[in-house]
């Protein structure tokens, strides 16, 4: 059986020089003083029990009569050693704590320096992203411009095949540009520089606007669009441009991942807790539960194979999440493979009616 660690600690402290140095270890003096009355007590009890008279003579006699009193006489020294050992144990612990505190201080300083450096790097990164966006877009101006001029026949006649080729160039320039813009948007979200210009607007209008660019695809794929807009209050308080971006992204996914003659839809519902819930749903491919975990990771695609049918940068949903996070709104995904997806988020209702009520009640002046 192993003795408890306190005992081992005590024994090792017993061998420490610190235990026997009363100049540094005040516990020794304390123990010594505590030990002084003990021989007097023992002799005193002896005299009392024997029924003798208390005097120096009887004291010396009693002391010399019994060896136990000699043992008690060295108690001040024993107490000094025991207390001194306890002092050493305490001293060792203090030293350890001091060491840890110093180590901690060092770590904190190191962390502060590292943090400072990270902040600098973060700023450099944001500047870098802003610069790179500019640099990447500049050559596109000439590429896109000349391609379009050629296509329009401004630089001489061209045949239909050449026109188609130029169309492909322009389409890909636009795709590239969108990607650069997405990266910039994501960099802004990362560095917390996403500024929201909040205003009151009717979410129904923005949903209708978001649907317009997809009309050709909807018609081309013969998709049904089933929207459910309520009659009631749907005026929200949010950043309209960014919410349009969110809706465009979600609708784009719904259209992209729904097969011919499928159905997509957008439901708007005002809740009792003065929020509006917007749901974009489709009867498309859907994603598995495992895939749902990765939906908001950058550059992630449900189908990562080289032969995948759907193109995209994998930046759409991370941006959507970033924008909604900035609005304190959570995005929820409900999806069943091969039967469809439902993506839901909510926005706060604008307090337009409340303020009218207040004015009518006269509360506004209070």
């Amino acid at each position: 059986m192993k003795p408890p660690s306190q005992v081992l600690e005590f024994i090792s402290a017993l061998a420490d020089r610190y235990t026997y140095n009363p100049f540094r270890n005040a516990y020794i003096i304390f123990g010594f003083i505590w030990g002084i009355p003990i021989p007097f007590f023992s002799v005193g009890i002896d005299i009392f029990v024997a029924g003798r008279v208390f005097s120096l003579q009887s004291f010396l006699m009693a002391f010399s009569e019994h060896p136990i009193h000699h043992f008690f006489a060295i108690h001040p020294i024993i107490f000094a050693i025991v207390f001194g050992t306890m002092g050493t144990v305490r001293y060792r612990k203090d030293c350890k704590i001091d060491g840890l505190i110093n180590e901690l201080k060092g770590n904190v300083e190191q962390l502060a320096r590292a943090n400072e450096k990270l902040k600098e790097l973060d700023k450099l990164k944001s500047d870098f992203v802003a610069n790179i966006t500019h640099e990447l877009k500049t050559p596109l101006v000439a590429i896109r411009g000349y391609s379009e001029m050629l296509q329009e026949g401004r630089l001489g006649n061209i045949n239909d095949k050449q026109k188609d080729g130029l169309g492909t160039i322009i389409r890909n320039v636009d795709r590239f540009q969108k990607m650069v813009e997405d990266l910039l948007q994501l960099a802004k979200i990362d560095s917390g520089k996403l500024v929201l210009n909040k205003a009151r607007f009717d979410i129904r209008d923005v949903v209708s606007t978001a649907l317009i660019p997809f009309q050709p695809q909807i018609v081309g794929k013969r998709l049904n669009v089933e929207n459910a807009f309520p009659e009631g209050d749907t005026v929200v308080y949010a950043d309209m441009d960014k919410i349009l971006h969110v809706l465009t992204n979600l609708i784009s996914n719904a259209v992209k991942f729904t097969m011919q003659e499928g159905t997509i839809g957008i439901d708007i519902k005002s809740n009792s807790d003065s929020r509006v819930t917007i749901t974009v749903w489709d009867t498309g491919c859907g994603v598995t539960e495992e895939q749902q975990k990765h939906l908001f990771e950058r550059f992630w695609q449900a189908d990562n194979s080289a032969t995948r049918k759907h193109s995209g940068s994998g930046l759409g949903l991370p941006i959507v999440k970033g924008i909604l996070d900035a609005h304190n709104s959570t995005i929820r995904v409900l999806s069943v493979p091969n039967s469809g997806s439902k993506i839901t988020f909510d926005l706060p209702l604008a307090e337009v009616n409340l303020s009218i009520d207040k004015i009518l009640r006269g509360d506004v002046w209070k």
């Binding site: 500019h134 500049t138 101006v141 411009g145 379009e148 329009e152 630089l155």
Partner: protein, 130 residues
């Protein structure tokens, strides 16, 4: 009366300059190019063009500053700004300082041509009344 349709293009990128020169020339405008704001200001002070199309981000002097200076030198001159990454704020600043429009790069030919045509229509409508 035939209105002389003069446009000055300001951009530090020579390819962009040439492209805008080609595009606007093919639309029938008289185009002059300038590589930076100082060169542009000299041209503008001398010839008082109807329209200046300038990049926002340029070395030495930014497009916004150039816009203010143009409005001082030649208040009649209309200005279009080109930018690689614009937002609402920048648009409002540009329009507030007297610009006609803020066009996002890469430029769509049809869009720019439409804007330029509209501006010259406005000019031809307002000029004979003076």
């Amino acid at each position: 009366m035939e209105v002389k349709k003069m446009v000055v293009v300001v951009d530090d990128e020579s390819d962009t300059r040439t492209y805008l020169y080609e595009l606007l020339s093919s639309e029938g405008y008289e185009v002059t190019t300038a590589a930076d704001a100082f060169e542009a200001l000299k041209v503008i002070a001398k010839s008082k063009p109807d329209l200046v199309i300038t990049d926002v981000r340029m070395p030495n002097m930014e497009g916004m500053e150039l816009l203010t200076k143009i409005k001082n030198v030649s208040p009649e001159t209309r200005v279009i700004l080109l930018t690689a990454y614009g937002d609402c704020q920048q648009y409002l600043e540009a329009v507030g300082k007297g610009a006609e429009d803020l066009v996002l790069k890469p430029i769509k030919n049809k869009e720019l041509v439409r804007i330029v045509r509209r501006i010259f229509e406005q000019i031809s409508l307002t000029k004979p009344q003076k």
